[in-house]
Assembly symmetry: C3
Homo-oligomer: 391 residues x 3
């Protein structure tokens, strides 16, 4: 089918249409607490198409060292159909797709929980995302409440590629104008409680092992190991463009008029979107802990404990929490680890200054009689599938 239109010279119209200010409307995006009912499901706008190039560019921008995300030949030699999108990109994009309904009116992002990567995303795939409101904790009419949500992203075959939960602090609407309505959702909320992960891995990749270091295999990690990642990354104003490059529409990250008009400690320069901060930290760590990983199973208990701004230099430390065999896959093992982010102090100096307290969750410190660490910006627990040393 096709539509045919005879184009004609475009007449100038504006001078002939009187300006009627009473016909003004001011659409607002996001959802206030009133608009987040437990059980409600949102289909998020737009979707996001992945390409080899934008996957490579993401991995390189965020300093990925695992060849799996940088080298398509290496990825295929390991059994993948093609270059897979890095977990960080899939996570960043899914988080961003959800912003309009989940967090564009949020006061604070309180944490990431039970993040699970279920399927590779390949070049040409298009993700869409859905959120279900699981719970809403009201704390009275004058205080913001806390919502717990579950978000999933699916590919164009409606297969779930990622699912996670978040807790978000949101205000009641009060006298503010209403937000744009959400479209009706025609589909059942996707997702699984005990998903089965199937990876196309072959145990003996037909490629030189010289593309990764010799001391980042499964056998090189033991519970308790602390790894101080040598390099930092100075974040520039690039972060403003990167925000919408991964699909995030929140003006706090790219609109200085908006950010400076905020009250309290959010007021000032645009804040770096947290997903980007996490991606840089994970990339800085990758040279030492994940260059031989073949899958990120997921992460949990993720908290942005301080905001980051253009000009900040971020650094990272990892701490190994557990190592496990994998039944039926003796070429690989599972490694659980903590990832800690700091800013404007090197990771080595932060460890010297704060010692063991760096690895204590910030929101448990008050009860433990400890001070929060102002230089610390992020903490999370990760779980990775890592190659054993080739023989």
């Amino acid at each position: 089918m096709s539509v045919t239109i005879q184009l004609t010279p475009q007449a100038e119209l504006s001078a002939g249409i009187p300006v009627a200010l009473e016909k003004t409307r001011q659409p607002h995006y996001g959802r206030y607490l009133d608009e987040l009912e437990p059980g409600q499901v949102f289909e998020h706008p737009r979707g996001f198409t992945f390409t080899t190039s934008n996957m490579l560019t993401f991995a390189r921008t965020f300093m990925q060292a695992n060849p799996l995300y940088l080298n398509a030949h290496y990825a295929r030699a390991h059994g993948f159909n093609d270059l897979p999108g890095s977990p960080q990109m899939v996570f960043n994009v899914t988080l961003s797709l959800g912003v309009q309904n989940d967090s564009e009116k949020a006061i604070a992002n309180l944490g990431y929980y039970q993040v699970q990567f279920l399927r590779p995303v390949y070049p040409g795939d298009t993700l869409r995302a859905f959120t279900k409101v699981l719970e809403r904790k009201d704390r009275g009419p004058d205080k913001p409440g806390i919502t717990r949500i579950r978000t999933v992203s699916v590919n164009q075959h409606d297969e779930v590629v990622l699912q996670y939960e978040r807790k978000i602090m949101v205000s009641w609407r009060g006298t503010r104008p209403p937000t744009t309505p959400a479209p009706n959702v025609a589909v059942a909320f996707p997702g699984a409680n005990r998903p089965l992960l199937q990876l196309p891995l072959n145990g003996k990749p037909l490629i030189s092992s010289g593309l990764t270091g010799p001391n980042t295999y499964f056998e090189d990690f033991a519970p308790g190991d602390i790894i101080v990642h040598a390099n930092g990354r100075t974040i520039t104003e690039e972060h403003m463009a990167l925000t919408y490059l991964v699909g995030n529409s929140h003006p706090l990250h790219f609109d200085r008029l908006f950010s400076t008009a905020q009250s309290g400690k959010m007021s000032g320069e645009p804040i770096v979107y947290g997903g980007l901060v996490f991606a840089w930290l994970e990339g800085l760590a990758s040279r030492d802990v994940s260059e031989n990983a073949v899958w990120e199973l997921g992460f949990t208990e993720g908290y942005h404990t301080q905001p980051a701004f253009a000009g900040d230099t971020v650094g990272a430390l990892s701490r190994i929490l557990a190592v496990e065999d994998v039944a039926g896959a003796d070429a690989y093992g599972l490694v659980s680890m903590q990832l800690i982010g700091v800013k404007n102090i090197t990771a080595a100096a932060a460890l010297e200054k704060y010692g063991a307290d760096l690895f204590v969750k910030e929101d448990t410190k008050r009860d433990a009689g400890k001070d929060k660490i102002a230089d610390k910006i992020f903490e999370i627990e990760r779980r990775l599938l890592i190659k054993r040393r080739p023989r």
Copy 2:
């Protein structure tokens, strides 16, 4: 066929070749008024290959909200062969391809007129561009003149994808060195006066309508409606790289030595290339007025009324001018609208401050006894094909 060359060690030569300063040449680009004869045709250099990734990156950099330019699956479900290049990208690239002959010596870009998009640009397409000088208004030997030009871009099958007219203010060459000559043009100037637009649209896209909002369909717009777009975008120094990323070779946008050496109000920091400013404004507006558009027919009467610089935050307002049915295509309708850009003031504050005057063309204000608005940076009229609400 092939060429075979035996490579040998490359000998160092420079010390043996005496420096002869009299053999210096200083090529200059652009065309002075003397070099813009009515009837003359230029074929512009280089050409520009589109890819899925650079199309997606453009759409995201400029904050596009229409899934048609972000989601290849959505585009195909609407009848397109593949992801189409956004009109803003096709316009930016075509403008840029023409810079060397049209405006690299321009004093001022006076306006865009009768911009018409005639065919989708798909991944893998390569555009070339041509300009014909339509008219030259001389205003005496001491004053810059005004040229009216017509530019078209064609794909690799020589099909016109875009055509427009511009007015540009240009100086006589005077005693300045001549510019590089233009190559002879071997082809007839392409383009059509009353082009027929044929779009591969199907009326019932096989995709969830949840990817766009429920209140941006054809039925949601009525003449006179004013829509204040909520968010702004802070432009960073990214604009310098973006200029040549779309093919624009004008040093005013990326060479601080050049920009600071200019006289008058152009002197100072590099000025943001106007095509980029328009693209950001259009993107900021897209969430409210064009996320359900399937084609931009064109625009006219486009003026950059103030320059923008790195650090500026831009915002946008739209005003609906007309709505029309389309014969033989009852799933769509045409919406004409004004797009207004402001900087370093929110769109809402600008409307409150300036009221109806925001929508009055700046170059008519003197005659109407009105003041120009210093915060206003852009104005244009657009014409879009927009989906009716699905039933």
Copy 3:
């Protein structure tokens, strides 16, 4: 084959694993002089996949004017299978792949020699790189030594695409912690001493010659010609991201905590990675000297004589050194030329200020009783295959 894992809720572990600071390790990258034994071969980590989009983006970021790297249709019309990666990108990527073993602990990059491009890199190709230590000049235990290395990059078919030599100044390790070990290299060091270059060129490209200027053909260059390139490029903080976008892991270029902690004249803001500086200079020159080139045979005697920083504006001059016929390929000729880079002064002003001395190698100036030029940042000799004027 595949690996199947039943995903279960991810338990929080960190609170249960006591922090044992004695289990800390601090991996360091790079090689000290002690670790660079003549004859030693390194296989560099990661590899790098090229795509049409990242090739186009590189060419445009660095202001390339040769349509061969911007226009896939033009490239194919000249006989190439597809868009070739620009020599600058292939060089930048290969240099970067080698950083971890070649120069991540370097004090100074002393020069590029005998750089030879042997084969086109096409979209989808993946490069890996190898370095052999050719020579190590020790200058006593208290002074850094100088290594001469040979680096090659190969595509996924193990065909050499680029080879070059570098001299690098490196310190002894002393009391510093050791660096991460290099993996064993299983393959013979690739490369050839007198390589045969075979290019798929057809003598009569089936495409309009209007895509390049009429005065940049082989016949337009004569030994001694000096060409002052009109435009400069202001380098922004973009350089920090670009560093790892081409695969370079050296923190001096993107980690402000690292760069400010350096001593002497390297201390301060992150220094622009030299490969990027060269790429901008070459791009600025391309409009005048290489828009009709079909191959860069190579370059030699390349020196970064001053560092560049964000905010600097760079400019370029070229001087023709030799022109040669090519046996059996009468549609082309070889042009050798010097490329000189300056910063924060226009190329024209630098020529006026320094005259012939601009073209004298900086490291020969002391012996010649001349002053070094503080505004000069780069010098190199290039050798290009350029089209003769079409008849």
